[in-house]
Amino acid sequence: MSGSAPILAVHDLSLSIGGTPILEEVGFDIPHGSIFGLVGESGSGKSLTAMSAMRLLPAGARLTGSIKLAGRELIGLPEDTMCHLRGNEIGMIFQEPMTALNPLHTIGQQVAETIRIHTDRSRKDALDTARETLARVGLPGDRFPLDRYPHELSGGQRQRVGIAIAVALKPKLLIADEPTTALDVTTQAQILQLLKTLVVEDGIGLMLITHDLAVVADMADRIGVMEAGRIVECAETTDLFQHTQHPYTQRLFAASRHVPKRRAYVPQQGDIPLLKVDNLVRDYRPNSLFSGKARTVRAVDDVSFAMFPGENVGLVGESGCGKSTLARALLGLEVVQGGQITLRGKPFAQPGKPPAADQRRLIQVVFQDPYGSFNPRHRVDRLVAEPLHLLNERPSDLERRRKVGAVLEAVGLAADVGKRFIHEFSGGQRQRIAIARALIVEPKLVILDEAVSALDVSIRAQILDLLADLSSRLSVSYLFISHDLSVVRAITDRLMVMRDGRIVEEGPTSDVFASPKHPYTAELLAAAPDLGSALLARGVDLDQISQLSLV
């Protein structure tokens, strides 16, 4: 092993699976103690590049080119040698902390296993090292004993266990595949900081895969941009942002900072609120024969707010803060224990009473998952026409077809896609169909529950444009629920910050971002990755570049 060789050197790497080319001539180096960011949209080949370095590829995969780990060629190594390298010299962290750990093994066992399979240390010795490693990644033994199971930990804590598994043997190379995508912003900031510390302290090379430009702008020393299985541009971080060469990088860059054109809501004296929520309470009581003392969980705690016609309101907060429960209560899907919801001056849902169908029509919803929220056995026209049963008068067949066609065209799809099934559409198209489904009954309020979170930046930019356009044309209001502060900032007039079931801060979006009043809001804003401030910290003025490179 030569000391000067980069930890990972990839050259002319091509991968095909079952004859289909996946990666073409991918090449990059990761020196010791440096962070290489690999960015790109879903399907661009980021994860498969990582899995090629791990040599954990699906059956039928064919690798050519060269992958050198500290000077040693990995392609062609026998499987048992690779087993020895994995976990020992290359550690890997995955996206889904909720499912990446074995639910039946304790965290101590899972970290110690890495040590036990690569060394001949005793069980006790391995557990001791596991304890030290867990403490190092922020899970000290006095609060997180080794016999904890994954389900007893939060998402962020589980991701720390995942990191401990990967770094227990101090590998030379650490691969992190979207390590913080499933986490809240404050947790994300902590995990990214931890990764940085590990790189500096252990001098390891980190390959950080992400779709989030703001994250790599903050973390990486060098960035590779991937599109369709190729690295289209690769440069030092500041260089990359300052002198963006490739049109794809420029598009990606523009899309991630995209602010849709829309008419801002101007409050007027005497406006009647579209939606008024007063002292809303939603309790969960774990109800069972032997549950002992009933522990009530208050998911929505005395929430009051109002929304005006044409106004877009953002609702942000960490997972479990009650955002989605509040949304479900507004949709009449939750029985509330207290408070009142008023829609256009009429009572909508009261404690113990479901809303009337003609009221319900006025509030529709678009969910996050463009894959799971459709019945795969129905054709698009049936899916889109579904909410029509909320209308007092059922439209005739002809009328229904006309409505479906019109609403599909309104969301930018051809009217004749109605005959197709949902699996024939991409994620972005599906989200357009979901929006069409919400709009067909001409609602006044659409709840967008993380509606663009699962989409790639360029698709997200298109959907945000569509939403802004529809809002102006159809005078629909949005309640925009998201954990992504940059999206909320781009599309809302007013922002509400929720924590532990309560709304802790509320105000015009620009004011909240400029000068947060509640310490929690400040914490949230500070933790959120932001491209502008990350680049500013590197001495790059974003506003200057944007005029140059953005089309």
Binding site: E79, G87, F94, P103, Y149, L289, F290
Partner: protein, 316 residues
């Protein structure tokens, strides 16, 4: 954990009560009068009435139900109408055969199924997997009485290793008794092992697709190690349910095999009870089987909690 146990026990008790009512009501509406059956079609009505009174058949349903349940609790199942001996003695004799037979068959099926499933899952869609799946298909399709007869032909008639049927009793010694149970246990185990192997294989393949298997591979475990250390225990959870159901089936459902091998087991006892209108025997064996099934389900529930820590929490 204690609360989990208490809840399971309560479910068990309630199931028993419900089952006893259903069984008793069913038995009292089935056609056929035990007294008539015992005395023949031309019996004198007065004598018939006397026998009915003696058997207690003339009393109200509720009284008879309570008496029966009261007896069950203290282990008194009543007198058989036809054998004229206590039902508990009858059952005790038969269970000495049926219980070991069921255990033996279950053990065999688990011992065959687990390695077969691991072997197949590790070679997914390759020759080994396809052969195991093909064999298990045959194991399910072949009627077990026919397979039993083939076993008799080969091992008893041709090779003369085992006797063709009958049971010498445990008094004759452990080895002769086990020898008598070996062929029936194999015949019973074959379809069960085939089902179990298929279920375990698909459960293993499901868990192999889980993210934590990828984590295990990234740690440096080989495919086989990941399968045995991480997939196996996770895959056991659905498989336990099948094992529980199989045990109950093996305990009661061996009638045909018992007939092929002339074994005096519980299945034959019920069969004879039904043909002779010995309703007290039938309902006692049935309630006993219900008890065995609920007990096994209870044990399976406990085993779940033992395997899966997530079930232990939320109940503590």
């Amino acid at each position: 954990m204690l609360r989990y146990l208490a809840r399971r026990l309560l479910v068990l008790a309630l199931t028993m009560v419900a089952a006893s009512i259903v069984i008793f009501l069913l038995m009292s509406v089935v056609p056929g009068d035990p007294a008539q059956f015992m005395m023949g079609m031309n019996a004198d009505p007065a004598a018939l009435a006397a026998l009915r009174a003696e058997l207690g058949l003339d009393r109200p349903l509720l009284v008879r139900y309570l008496e029966w349940v009261g007896g069950l609790v203290i282990g008194d199942f009543g007198q058989s109408y036809t054998y004229r001996v206590s039902v508990s003695q009858l059952i005790l004799d038969r269970i000495g055969l049926s219980l070991p037979l069921a255990f033996l068959a279950l053990l065999l099926s688990v011992v065959i199924a687990i390695p077969a499933a691991l072997f197949a899952a590790q070679r997914h869609n390759k020759a080994g997997d396809i052969s195991v799946m093909g064999l298990s298909q045959i194991g399910i399709a072949v009627p077990n009485f026919w397979f039993a007869m083939l076993l008799v032909l080969l091992f008893s008639v041709t090779l003369r290793w085992f006797s063709a049927g009958g049971f010498p009793g445990w008094d004759a010694g452990f080895v002769p008794a086990m020898k008598a149970l070996t062929l029936p246990a194999i015949a019973l185990a074959l379809p069960q092992a085939s089902i179990l192997a298929r279920v375990l294989r698909s459960a293993l393949l499901d868990t192999l697709g889980e993210d934590y298997i990828r984590t295990a591979r990234a740690k440096g475990l080989s495919r086989g190690q990941a399968l045995r250390r991480h997939a196996f225990r996770n895959a056991l959870i659905p498989v336990l349910t099948i094992i529980g159901l199989q045990f109950s089936f093996l305990l009661a459902g061996a009638i045909i095999i018992e007939n092929v091998f002339f074994l005096p087991g519980l299945g034959r006892l019920v069969f004879q009870g039904i043909t002779q209108r010995d309703l007290i025997v039938v309902q006692s064996v049935v309630i006993l089987l219900v008890f065995a099934v609920t007990l096994v389900t209870f044990l399976v529930d406990i085993a779940y909690a033992f395997i899966d820590p997530r079930l232990r929490r939320g109940t503590v």
